[in-house]
């Protein structure tokens, strides 16, 4: 039986599947194809994709399907499924649409390339690319550097030294968040000023994070952190600037980082991925391939045998690609 489990685990990972939302529609990349499904889960089109999908990034009217192993990205028009495949630099691991252009992060070439021409050299091991306020932010793990890039001129405008070896990087537009599994820390920096704003202990081995709700006049951003060692998703208040904190009268904003709220959700297995949208938060365990929905202090399994990227949060529920079929779990 154990032997069978191994075979299933590794056979399933041989051909990845990734699901992403494009407004109310769902994009699924699987088995060398890219397909668009409408809100009723009817297939709109099916197009040629990439051999082994690593990541799907959706932009205004287009979707980029990345094959990190083969150094290929398929760029497909969401309206009709027409598109092209482009060769990238070595190991494209992330991408972002900005100002109508697609930017691809080629990790093992230490470069950010713009589809159609232009590139910029980055610090070694650039692993995460985020767009914020018309700028691009890249975090490179080896030196722990965040570099800000002007996408029009393709040049580095500012850089910030943070700690190396973060396992995820997210931003709510005002604050950048970096999570460190080895140190069990969350570090933050101000995106407008590109200055470090603080750090705080975060669980046991936090690996993945998601911005659960963005800051507004009444509250700071809330973050969800997946911690497989603690088998929990921690809910953390994000950083606030001094002025925003004063506006809301929260003294803790002066510390640069919000406090841990006591809120967390417990799971039967160690979850290492977290995703949030609106009122829905999902957690995923790569080892057991189980997808959980976070409900208060408990995680409820909603699907099993799901690929690591095989789910997304739709406006009406959770879409899951399972055994060649797209399902909507309300």
């Amino acid at each position: 039986m154990k032997r069978l489990l191994i075979i299933v685990l590794f056979a399933a990972s041989a051909r990845a599947q990734v699901v992403a939302m494009a407004g109310r529609d769902t994009v699924v990349a699987h088995d060398g194809r890219v397909e668009l499904f409408d809100a009723n889960l009817s297939r709109v089109w099916s197009a040629e994709g990439v051999a082994d999908v690593s990541r799907v990034v959706v932009g205004q009217g287009r979707v980029a399907v990345i094959d990190s192993f083969a150094n290929t990205v398929a760029i497909i028009d969401l309206a009709n499924g027409n598109g092209e495949r482009i060769a990238t630099g070595e190991t494209p691991v992330d991408a972002a649409f900005a100002g109508g252009d697609l930017f691809i992060l080629d990790r093992d070439a230490n470069r950010l390339q713009r589809a159609g021409g232009g590139s910029v050299t980055l610090a070694p091991d650039p692993a995460y690319l985020r767009a914020a306020g018309g700028r691009l932010l890249v975090y490179s793990r080896l030196e722990g550097v965040v570099q800000e890039i002007d996408p029009r001129q393709m040049r580095i405008t500012r850089k910030l030294a943070m700690a190396p070896f973060a396992s995820d990087f997210e931003t709510d537009g005002h604050t950048g968040y970096l999570v460190y599994p080895g140190e069990a820390k969350l570090r933050t920096f101000s995106v407008p000023s590109m200055t470090a704003t603080g750090d705080v202990g975060a669980g046991v081995v936090p690996v993945d994070l998601a911005v659960a709700s963005r800051a507004n006049v009444l509250s700071a951003s809330r973050l969800a952190l997946a911690d497989p060692s603690a088998k929990r998703v921690w809910i953390v208040e994000g950083s606030e600037s001094v002025s925003r904190a004063v506006t809301r009268g929260f003294l803790r904003g002066l510390l640069g980082l919000g406090l841990f709220s006591p809120q967390s959700s417990q799971f039967p297995t160690g979850v290492d991925r977290v995703m949030t949208r609106g009122s829905i938060t999902l957690a995923y365990d790569s080892t057991s391939r189980t997808l959980y929905r976070v409900r208060g202090s408990k995680g409820t399994a909603i699907a099993t045998d799901v690929a690591p990227g095989g789910f997304a949060i739709a406006s009406t529920g959770v879409t899951v690609w399972q055994k060649g079929v797209l399902r909507l779990i309300r």
Partner: protein, 486 residues
């Protein structure tokens, strides 16, 4: 003196108690089997199976090697699940990194890449994780990914050494530098790294470890070395071989020879070094190196191809009865077209080493290939057959593999070939020939045949094939001459 003791010990495992030379990997295989049988911990089991896989692969036993890699993958997967259950995420990441390596060994590129990425998610600050990543990508031929990962490993290892200059950290840095040297496309950079490794390993920093190795009389070379002593020896061996290979590639024969000899000073039966020295040596040394290389590993296709280029009409069948000597004999017999003899020799080796890919491939080459030569069905005369087609005909005739129609066609077909006769007797304006060869295929006539005129030993012969026979101990064609031209 200690160095001598080590060198002498290195010679010992090459010879079994029955006086038969053993293959270079015999000792390591026995050691790994013992390790698997007596140890229960994850790394002992994992490294045992990975090493056995590599050792069997070096002996062209790919099915056995694959089964060992599959076991390593199963062990790594089990360890990953156990670690995850125990909430030990760093242990989980290490196990997944080893899964990537085992997957890569099994040629599962997608699974290997996924596993390597999964391990790095948790441990991007670990030189070991990047090293595993790089090794897996090197195995899959993804050198740019491998080089990038290895550069990360070297940077991290250098930082660790700067913070804590221990012998273990020096060894880790050297290991990661070796991985980088194996991955980079730039030979010059690789050479610099390998020289740096050698200088480091020969430095006083490792004096205590060298004394320990001498005291323990250690000599084994593993691809997955456990412990400082095994890692030191394996690294010294592999770095030396790779450096020698680079020097040879850029034409520095003396430098390459020096490095290969340096490898042999630590491990006298290293098959790669022996094979290389056979390639780089003078004619009088070549036979000795070839003999030693074949005894160390008779099944290396690189060595076999090298030896096949070396064989000429003066190469004698070796008199010894070792596996290496019998392999050389089979290759010589094949070269002479003595396929029946070669099959017999190879069969004796197959009985001793069942499941060997090299033996299977060579055995196939001595057999009759499927179908018949095209000239048998084209009903054309004056055909110039290839050596392979003539060998095919010998095989078909020996095995009675021709249909009556094909046999009739063969009887009627006249063929023309450039021939080299063994000898010529000239008498009263006639030249008498009896036997010779066509592109390495032996032939003879039914009896000495006199041709009117004077002809050289090399001529163009038009003939019919009467049957298969022997000539000078080799398989041969029995020919009926039709005409001869200079």
């Amino acid at each position: 003196m200690k160095r001598l003791a080590l060198s002498l010990l290195v010679c010992l495992p090459a010879f079994a108690a029955d006086g038969q030379p053993r293959m270079a990997s015999d000792f390591e295989i026995a050691r790994m089997k013992q390790q698997i049988a007596t140890s229960r911990d994850f790394l002992s089991q994992l490294s045992g199976h990975l090493n056995l896989g590599d050792l069997y692969l070096s002996r062209s036993e790919s099915e056995t090697a694959r089964s060992q890699y599959a076991m390593a993958l199963e062990i790594a997967g089990r360890e990953a699940r156990r670690a995850r259950k125990a909430s030990d995420i760093m242990r989980y990441a290490t196990a997944v990194g080893y899964s990537a390596l085992a997957d890569a060994r099994l040629g599962k590129d997608g699974a290997a890449f996924d596993a390597a990425e999964e391990a790095i998610r948790y441990t991007s600050g670990s030189a070991k994780s990047w090293n595993l990543y790089s090794s897996a990508m090197t195995l899959l031929g993804r050198t740019a990914k491998a080089a990038s990962a290895a550069r990360n490993a070297v940077t991290i290892a250098r930082g660790e050494l700067a913070r804590s200059p221990t012998v273990a950290n020096r060894l880790d840095l050297a290991t990661n530098e070796y991985t980088l040297a194996s991955a980079v496309d730039d030979d010059r950079q690789a050479e610099l790294l390998l020289r740096e490794i050698k200088v480091s390993l020969r430095s006083d920093d490792f004096a205590a470890l060298r004394r320990d190795i001498a005291r323990r009389e250690s000599f084994e070379i593993y691809s997955s070395a456990r412990g400082d002593a095994a890692a030191y020896l394996s690294l010294l061996n592999r770095a030396g071989l790779r450096l020698a290979g680079l020097l040879e590639k850029r034409g520095d024969v003396d430098g390459a020879r020096h490095e290969y000899e340096s490898v042999l000073a630590s491990r006298t039966d290293d098959p790669t070094a022996l094979s290389a020295l056979a390639r780089l040596s003078t004619a009088d040394e070549q036979q000795r190196y070839f003999a030693q290389a074949f005894d160390a590993n008779p099944f290396s296709m690189t060595l076999i191809r090298q030896y096949q280029r070396h064989i000429d009409e003066n190469t004698a069948i070796p008199g010894e009865d070792t596996a290496g000597a019998r392999m050389r004999a089979a290759l010589i017999e094949m070269q002479r077209g003595e396929n029946r003899l070669a099959r017999t020799t190879l069969d004796s080796l197959v009985a001793q080493f069942p499941g060997n890919d090299t033996l299977r491939a060579l055995r196939r080459q001595t057999e009759v290939t499927a179908g018949v030569p095209a000239f048998l069905t084209s009903n054309r005369s004056g055909v110039a057959p290839s050596s392979a087609e003539l060998r095919q005909i010998i095989g078909l005739l020996q095995s009675d593999g021709l249909t009556p129609e094909q046999r009739a066609s063969l009887d009627q077909t006249t063929l023309t070939s450039a021939v080299t006769f063994d000898s010529a007797t000239k008498n009263d304006g006639q030249t008498i020939f009896e036997s010779g060869s066509i592109g390495g295929v032996r032939f003879r006539f039914g009896e000495p045949t006199a041709f009117t005129g004077t002809f050289p030993m090399q001529a163009r012969l038009t003939y019919r094939i009467l049957g298969a026979t022997e000539s000078g101990g080799a398989d041969a064609l029995l020919l009926e001459p039709v005409r001869i031209a200079p």
